[in-house]
């Protein structure tokens, strides 16, 4: 029965591949001219031109004959600009007009320590303060200033993105029609590569830090909107009823009952927003966002690996600290205060006030409070450069051989196989799988996605992107699943692996390019390695989660039936965890896709190269259409894999 089903899907697919030479040309690769027969257009349907025409129209359009679209964008960027001025003034520039300096470094170190102590204890205090200490200590090359620029961009973009996200989420939760429109848009937005945002924003808002902040806001709000919606929908109906029975009006209901009850989801959203903002602020350096990302970018371009690493470590440090702090805020549950005088009820606040007072008193007397003494700052880039040189010197041969072997015997054959699959076979496969997994609707959705890519004119490049993602997915699965299985066996290894995953996941994706460029220079192999490191995280995580969440009773039943450890694993735990593992693969694929697009920076010939070209030439249509191609590759895989996982879960009665 099962075999028959698989045959039904695979048979036409393989037939189409085998009889490829008999197929008409348009069925193998989509034609390059448009349907109407017009010239000099890349795709069958000129999506790119349509988008560009729309952009042109928008830029010129006058609302009510009073103001143009450009006026709107100008006023927005003006607002963002003044906000940025304020946060940068606070963090590193000071306010010359008022003769007020920036917040001294030691105040940030101390504040982070006290806040961390309040939230979770001395470990978090140590993490927070050592992060700022690192930034101050290694500021020989200006890392402190750069970090403060990055932080101030986050300080502006995160709250705005959060606010937009919450508003959109509330709208979707309150109006069914709004939800139907907003949900798919969020899906597309969340799978659009970073660079599509950058290109569109650069067209309307120009370049520089304010444009970077705007791109970051647009990039970071969707998860918050989604979590707000989920949070509002998950409130127990009893709580809502209690609100109604207490006689709440609509507004009282929203602000006093619903939003506070959705606190957990909202706080998770805050964490995601902050991490998304950091990732995007780093990448926004491509459109001139100043800060750590910009420094990283220029040093990478000059292949100054040692210096880039030093900056990279600062980014990583900030990422971990931001993540742990926002998680600690999310997990902090309210507790009743002890009785007594103010300092006893609020010891942390008292300490903080005392600390600030001390600094204010001491800062005119002790100079190093305001500025970290320059002669104490250090730089480790020489050390890192040494390591890079050592690696190049001693390992260049073996690494190059490894790289070439991988290319010749594995990657290139695989790539020709994938790119050789006829268009019609792929549409057929997608439609059949969609139909099998989720009925005709899914089949139609998937076919439309594939058709868009075929019609857009970027088919061949899309196939190369697909090849890179699939290769990485395979390698991730081969390594990630066994690692997950190993880790899930014992309590300590589970915790260790989860910690590693949590930590690695917080790094902005851009950071992953550093070590691979260091080892493999610039090639397909480096790109694939970067993808693998980045995209292995979810598969490991989901495998552990799936295996760990097999109900204890089932395992006990298997053991009492006389299963050996291995039998328990193969016959019980893996099959039951299978739906979760599929979800892990899905996430791995999405991560991979994101990374592929960033890896274009170190030279690949797929869609990402095109998108970099679009960025250079400020070609909004191209940027958006390629972004949508990437997004649709991701959504196709996502739809199919999630449907598969759901079906498995249903078959097992797991919900």
């Amino acid at each position: 029965m099962r075999l028959n089903r698989a045959l039904l899907v695979l048979a036409p697919f393989s037939l189409l591949i085998i009889f490829k030479s008999w197929l008409p040309g348009w069925a193998v690769t989509p034609p390059k001219s448009c349907l109407g027969g017009c010239a000099d257009i890349n795709g069958m349907i000129p999506f790119v031109d349509w988008v560009n025409a729309a952009i042109k129209f928008l830029r010129k359009y006058e609302f009510f004959d009073a103001f143009t679209f450009r006026d709107i964008t100008r006023s927005i960027s003006g607002m963002i600009d003044s906000l940025l001025h304020f946060t940068e003034g606070l963090l590193h520039e000071g306010f010359a007009d008022f003769n007020i300096g920036a917040i001294p470094w030691i105040a940030l170190v101390g504040a982070a320590a006290i806040y961390g102590w309040y939230l979770r204890g001395w470990k978090l205090a140590l993490l927070g303060s050592s992060c700022f200490l690192y930034l101050a200590l290694f500021s020989k090359r200006g890392i402190w200033e750069l970090s403060m620029q990055t932080l101030s961009a986050i300080a502006v973009s995160a709250p705005i993105a959060g606010l937009i996200g919450v508003l959109v989420g509330i709208l979707a939760a309150k109006r069914k029609t709004a939800e139907r429109i907003i949900w798919p848009i969020l899906n597309v937005l969340q799978s659009l590569p970073h660079f599509s945002y950058l290109i569109i924003v650069a067209i309307f808002f120009g370049v520089g830090s304010k444009a970077g902040v705007i791109a970051t806001i647009i990039f970071a709000f969707p998860p918050m909107a989604r979590l707000t919606l989920v949070g509002l929908q998950n409130i127990r109906s009893e709580v809502i009823e209690a609100g109604i029975m207490s006689g709440c009006s609509r507004m009282q209901m929203l602000f006093k009952v619903e939003l506070p009850s959705a606190r957990n989801e909202l706080m998770l959203g805050v964490n995601q927003i902050i991490m998304q903002c950091l990732a995007m602020v780093v990448i926004a350096s491509f459109i001139g966002q100043s800060g750590l990302g910009h420094d990283l970018l220029t040093r990478l371009q000059r292949l100054a690996i040692g210096q880039a690493l030093e900056v990279g470590i600062a980014v990583v440090f900030i990422a971990i600290a931001l993540d742990r702090f926002s998680q600690a805020i999310a997990n902090k549950q309210p507790t009743h205060l002890p009785e007594g005088p103010f300092w006893k009820r609020r010891p942390h606040l008292t300490t903080f006030i005392g600390f600030v007072a001390t600094i204010l008193v001491l800062s005119p007397i002790v100079p190093f409070i305001a500025k970290f003494p320059e002669h104490l700052t250090i730089s480790t880039s020489v050390f890192w450069d040494g390591i890079v040189d050592y690696i190049t010197l001693h390992f260049y041969g073996p690494l190059a051989n490894f790289r070439d072997a991988l290319l010749v015997y594995f990657l290139i054959p695989f790539r020709s196989a994938i790119t050789g699959i006829p268009l019609i076979a792929i549409i057929d496969l997608g439609a059949c799988l969609g139909w099998k997994m989720g009925g005709w609707r899914l089949a139609l959705t998937v076919s439309l996605f594939v058709f868009f890519i075929a019609a857009s004119g970027y088919w061949v490049r899309a196939m190369i992107t697909l090849y890179m993602v699939l290769v990485s997915l395979m390698i991730c699965a081969v390594f990630g699943i066994p690692i997950g299985i190993w880790a899930s066996r014992r309590e300590w290894s589970t915790r260790l692996m989860q910690n590693i995953c949590d930590t690695f996941q917080t790094f902005p994706s851009f950071i992953y390019l550093l070590p691979v460029v260091m080892l493999f220079q610039i090639s397909d192999v480096s790109a694939i390695f970067a993808i693998i490191i980045y995209a292995s995280i979810p598969i490991v995580r989901y495998t552990i989660f799936g295996l760990r969440n097999v109900p204890q009773e089932i395992i006990e039943a298997a053991v009492t039936s006389g299963c050996t450890q291995n039998q328990v694993l193969w016959k019980v735990r893996l099959p039951v965890a299978f739906p979760e593992i599929i979800l892990g693969l899905n996430q791995t694929l999405m991560f991979g896709l994101f990374m592929v697009m960033i890896a274009g920076f170190i030279g690949t010939v797929d869609l990402s190269q095109e998108i970099f070209r679009a960025l250079t030439f400020n070609d909004g249509g191209k940027g958006l259409v390629i972004g949508l191609c990437v997004s649709f590759i991701g959504l196709t895989a996502d739809r199919l894999l999630v449907a598969w996982s759901d079906r498995q879960k249903q078959e097992y009665g797991l919900g």
Binding site: V239, E241, A242, M245, S246, S249, S261, Q333, T335
Partner: protein
């Protein structure tokens, strides 16, 4: 218990499905089981007509899915009935505009929920003061009122605790306190003790009886536990598949079950405790004992030992000491051991 009607329900229907109102009208406002089933509607409440009297405890009882929760939500219009009429103090609730409804809920209704439904971000004090807060009552007034209630429900010293820091029983005390904050005329309790463990449940039931003896509210109480119903109720309504199959005192249900279902339900209940002599007495005939007589209002449990010690049947008198019948020893024995003999 007076006989003033507090809530009058007439022909309440609640159907779930694609177009309940249209379906209902199409079937002459009395759809049959077959019609409901064939068009895939789910009947939560069917044709419920009953009154709630001022000062009584009416227990609505049924298994899960019998529609009891939906019915009580129709009374406060948390759920919009498909059809019917609910009169609260003479006001037609189903026609009342949103504003009137909010006013009624703010001042006249209180509700306690099965899983407490406390607001996790508010302290005990703030949770209890919540209904007063949404009315716009100033902070000092509402908090002093809430403190009074904290004393009544026995949570002294826990004012500033968060729900998370309390046990289940304590949380439900907060829920009860919140529902009492506005001094409601009618008090809905939706399985308030079902989520608690047996010992705590018993304690809370006693607490509830104590509270009611102080407050004397009109109460609609929902439960799936017949023992609880017997312990608390003035009258019990038994629901089955959305229909109120019988409404009466515990004694009426036991001595005179309307359907097989009610009989099944009441079978394992210790009769001796609930039935009075009246329900098993017979007209006077033959010889009776001269040493003992019992009152018709006495419970069987109370008189059993004395009666069984006698050799012959016993006279029964009403409260005016008029002889109204006799109690046969054999019948008494049968009643006491009825449960075990059937098994």
């Amino acid at each position: 218990m007076s006989n003033n009607t507090k809530i009058a329900c007439k022909e309440i229907w609640k159907l779930y499905g694609s177009n309940p109102r249209g379906f209902f009208e199409k079937n002459q406002r009395n759809p049959s089981d077959e019609a409901i089933k064939s068009e895939q509607y789910i009947p939560a409440v069917r044709n419920a007509t009953f009154d709630v009297y001022e000062g009584e405890i009416l227990v609505i009882m049924g298994l899960s899915g019998s529609g009891k929760s939906t019915l009580v939500r129709c009374l406060s219009r948390l759920v919009e009935p498909t059809w019917g009429k609910v009169e609260f103090d003479g006001i037609d609730l189903l026609q009342a505009p949103e504003k009137t409804l909010i006013e009624i809920r703010r001042h006249k209704m209180g509700m306690v929920f099965q899983n407490f439904a406390l607001l996790p971000h508010r302290t005990v004090l703030q949770n209890i003061a919540f209904p007063l807060e949404v009315q716009g009552i100033d902070r000092t007034t509402r908090e002093s009122k809430a403190r009074e209630i904290i004393d009544i429900v026995g949570l002294q010293g826990r004012d500033n605790y968060y729900p998370r820091e309390l046990s289940g029983g304590q949380q439900q005390r907060v829920g009860i306190g919140r529902s009492l904050a506005v001094e409601p005329d009618i008090w809905f309790l939706d399985e308030p003790f079902s989520a608690l463990d047996p010992l705590i449940r018993k304690e809370m039931q006693n607490e509830f009886i104590r509270l009611q003896s102080i407050l004397g509210k009109t109460i609609v109480f929902i439960t799936h536990d017949f023992d609880e119903a017997i312990k608390l109720a003035d009258r019990i309504a038994i629901m089955y598949e959305g229909i109120i199959v019988q409404l009466g005192t515990a004694e009426e249900l036991i001595s005179n079950p309307a359907t097989q279902y009610v009989a099944e339900f009441t079978r394992d209940i210790p009769r001796a405790k609930l039935l009075s002599v009246r329900s098993i007495m017979e007209p006077l005939s033959g010889t009776v004992s001269e040493h003992l007589c019992v009152f018709s209002d006495d419970s069987i449990e109370k008189i059993a030992q004395a009666v069984l010690a006698q050799e012959s049947d016993i006279q029964v008198m009403d409260q005016h000491s008029q002889v109204v019948g006799m109690l046969r020893r054999q019948r008494l024995l049968e009643t006491i051991f009825e449960n075990s003999s059937e098994e």
